[in-house]
């Protein structure tokens, strides 16, 4: 009896330390992500304070008095825990600009005037104003890549869509062949495809500039998607082959027994069953095309993709870390969401291990 309880306690202690350990790993993995998410919501002023505030503020607290040159505006600083004066001016336009761009707290001139009116009866006016949390994101889309961010985003989505269409149609057919037929050169071809995927993409980037230019595809979405399809066709072949192998041929045969044609049986039985796997292949393709940066840098000139715009923003971000963070987040969000959907297939990325 006593011994059993001892074992129980021992077991509980083991479980607890195990969970503490797992939580520890998770914290180590997520801390950098936590900080960049938080940073992407901070105002420009706070993004340069040290230490960085852990969480973005929802409101900004102001203190308004008469200054030497006009109105003296102070802002509550969360690092120093006190009001710090930031502006002394009569120019309401300037004040409005400062609150908008430096504090991420858009205030119209009328709203500022309303507070200034109160100075007639009070010596010091305290007021709080709601922050525009998405301000960095809006600014990023407005200024990044000199206004190229939104066209680049559209281009990136076009590239992803084209790449998915090309690689699913071409790769899916081959995947079906590898799964259902045994023929001479089966393995050689299948591994040859895998070799193409492993071959560094950058090696073909330079000749590709000329080839694409000959077709008139250089610096156009179709050009990049043709290049991205090289890797993603191979991936699609391997994923779809493993999916079609998982669907018993007997199902198709049964349909044929009941008088359906081979094509019909494929369309009505195998394809619907393969759909989740095909969707996963499509998402992998999306991720590859969306994340890719190096080929996009080389193969675009005036029409960068979204990843290139983010890359350039980060590279030149010495003055604007919160903008770089916001750009990085826009870049990361679809990637993380799609990863969530394909997590069960992640180990098939290189055709090797099964889960």
């Amino acid at each position: 009896m006593k011994k059993k309880r001892w074992i129980n306690i021992n077991k509980a202690a083991k479980m607890t330390s195990f969970y503490i350990f797992v939580t520890g790993i998770m914290i180590a993995m997520l801390i950098p992500i936590f900080f960049i998410v938080s940073l992407s919501f901070l105002s420009t002023r706070e993004a340069y304070r040290f230490p960085l505030p852990l969480l973005p503020a929802l409101t900004t607290k102001f203190e308004l008095t008469h200054g030497e040159r006009g109105y003296l505006i102070s802002v509550y600083d969360r690092v120093e825990n006190e009001y710090m004066s930031v502006l002394d001016t009569q120019d309401l336009e300037k004040i409005s600009q400062y609150t908008r761009y430096q504090l991420g707290t858009p205030m119209t001139i009328e709203e500022i005037e309303q507070e200034i009116v109160k100075l007639e009866t009070q010596e010091i006016v305290y007021f709080t104003h709601r922050r525009n949390l998405l301000f960095n994101y809006e600014t990023f889309f407005r200024v990044a890549g000199t206004g190229q961010a939104i066209p680049a985003l559209i281009r990136s989505l076009q590239i992803c869509a084209l790449t998915i269409v090309i690689s699913l149609s071409i790769g899916g057919m081959a995947g079906y062949a590898f799964a259902r037929y045994s023929f001479k050169g089966h393995d050689t071809l299948k591994f040859g495809v895998l070799f193409v995927r492993m071959f560094p993409g950058v090696a073909i980037a330079l000749p590709m500039v000329i080839i694409l230019a000959n077709y008139g595809f250089f610096d156009k979405p179709i050009g990049l998607s043709l290049v991205y399809s090289i890797g993603s066709i191979a991936l699609t072949v391997w994923i779809t082959a493993s999916i079609f192998m998982g669907i018993p041929v007997s199902l198709e045969e049964a349909a044929q027994v009941f008088g359906s044609t081979k094509t019909h049986a494929f369309l009505r039985i195998t394809l619907p069953l393969a759909f989740p796997g095909l969707a996963a292949a499509a998402m992998f393709t999306f991720l590859g095309a969306w994340n890719e940066t190096i080929l996009a840098i080389i193969l675009t000139q005036f029409n960068p993709t979204f990843s290139v715009v983010v890359f350039q923003t980060v590279l030149g971000s010495v003055g604007q870390v919160n903008l770089a963070a916001a750009g990085g987040m826009v870049m990361a969000l679809p990637a993380v969401v799609f990863t969530f959907f394909i997590r069960r297939y992640i180990n098939q990325m290189w055709g090797g291990v099964t889960v």
């Binding site: 195990f18 797992v22 998770m26 993995m29 997520l30 950098p32 992500i33 900080f35 960049i36 340069y48 040290f50 230490p51 960085l52 790769g171 057919m173 081959a174 062949a177 393995d187 071809l189 591994f191 895998l194 492993m198 071959f199 560094p200 950058v202 090696a203 073909i204 980037a205 330079l206 000749p207 590709m208 080839i211 090289i230 066709i233 493993s242 192998m245 991720l287 969306w290 940066t293 190096i294 840098i297 990843s307 983010v310 980060v314 971000s317 870390v321 770089a324 987040m329 870049m331 990361a332 990637a335 990863t339 997590r343 992640i346 180990n347 055709g351 090797g352 291990v353 099964t354 889960v355």
Partner: protein, 302 residues
């Protein structure tokens, strides 16, 4: 007679079908992969006027950044792959069991790997500046005193290399861990239990049973890591700019994008490219060898 020939046609038709289904892939690869690869190889062996030469390779080897680039790449590859393997194996062995919330945990483990390079670059760049979040974190944890700052990006070459290796490890260890976990869970429990029954302790069982059974998975994961570690460049350029810590692939982009005007840029870039491609192809061939691609009669590796 007519029936027989139509049967024959149908039979040979059936034999052709798989090739017809694969044909688009082959044509696609011939047009958009093989052709540029051949062009690149030829490009690395010809000079600007189109004659055969080995001059390009001599030029690359004499490039003042070539030796540092090779050395840096080798150091990064060696240490990051080793570190990632040991870290991931350690974690995978500790976590190797089904527990409440394991799916949740595995999803979070995938996030670092899912981060696009540009986003990861933004993350580390904002962290490593003097007033960045890493120093802030150290300050909050009480490690840095007030007013004290670590200038991460101003360190010596060695510390910068360590930094790059650390960043790569952060991004990659979770995903290698997932691969190894999948491998561990495919090992039948009975084999390990048998080891314990015959009096082995944890370490003996690990060394004599678990690791040998896991070795195909380990080889797979390591070679795939090797292939991508050779191709590290973007994080380095984002953190340090071009030429500060040259690596092989960074040289390719440097000659292609940064010094475009020069006569020799194209030759330099192509030749660097071919060198990287040769190394990676070698690793890929080793990988294919291990996964049994060249074994006759072995039907399927999946």
């Amino acid at each position: 007679m007519a029936v027989a020939s139509s049967k024959n046609i149908r039979r040979s038709w059936g034999r052709i079908i798989p090739y017809l289904l694969i044909l688009p892939v082959i044509l696609y690869y011939a047009a958009f992969w093989l052709r540029p690869v051949i062009t690149a190889v030829i490009g690395s062996f010809t000079n600007a006027s189109g004659h055969f030469t080995l001059q390009n390779f001599a030029m690359v080897i004499n490039d003042e950044n070539f030796i540092p680039a090779v050395r840096n790449t080798a150091v990064i590859v060696f240490f990051s792959v080793t570190l990632e393997f040991l870290g991931a194996l350690f974690l995978a062995l500790l976590i190797n069991r089904k527990f409440a919330g394991s799916g949740f945990f595995l999803f979070f483990a995938m996030i670092p790997m899912a981060l696009p390079a540009a986003a990861a670059g933004a993350m580390w760049l904002t962290g490593l500046t003097a007033h960045g979040w890493i120093n802030s974190l150290l300050y909050y944890l009480g490690i840095l005193a007030e007013g004290e700052k670590v200038y991460w990006l101003a360190g010596s070459e060695l510390s910068l290399l360590a930094l790059v290796i650390f960043i790569d490890a952060w991004q990659v260890i979770p995903s290698v861990m997932i691969i190894l976990l999948a491998g561990l869970q495919n090992i039948p429990k009975e084999t390990q239990e048998a080891g314990y029954v015959f009096g082995g302790n944890y370490l003996t069982v690990l060394r004599k049973i678990t690791l040998p059974l896991l070795s195909p998975t380990i080889q797979t994961a390591m070679i795939l890591r090797l292939i991508s570690a050779i191709q590290i460049w973007l994080i380095i350029v984002l953190l340090l700019g071009y030429s500060r810590m040259p690596v092989l692939l960074e040289r390719v982009v440097y000659y292609q994008k940064e010094v475009k005007g020069l006569d020799i840029s194209y030759q330099m870039a192509t030749t660097y490219t071919i060198i990287v491609a040769a190394i990676v192809s070698l690793a890929a061939l080793v990988y294919l060898q291990i996964s049994g691609a060249f074994k006759r009669g072995k039907k399927e590796v999946i």
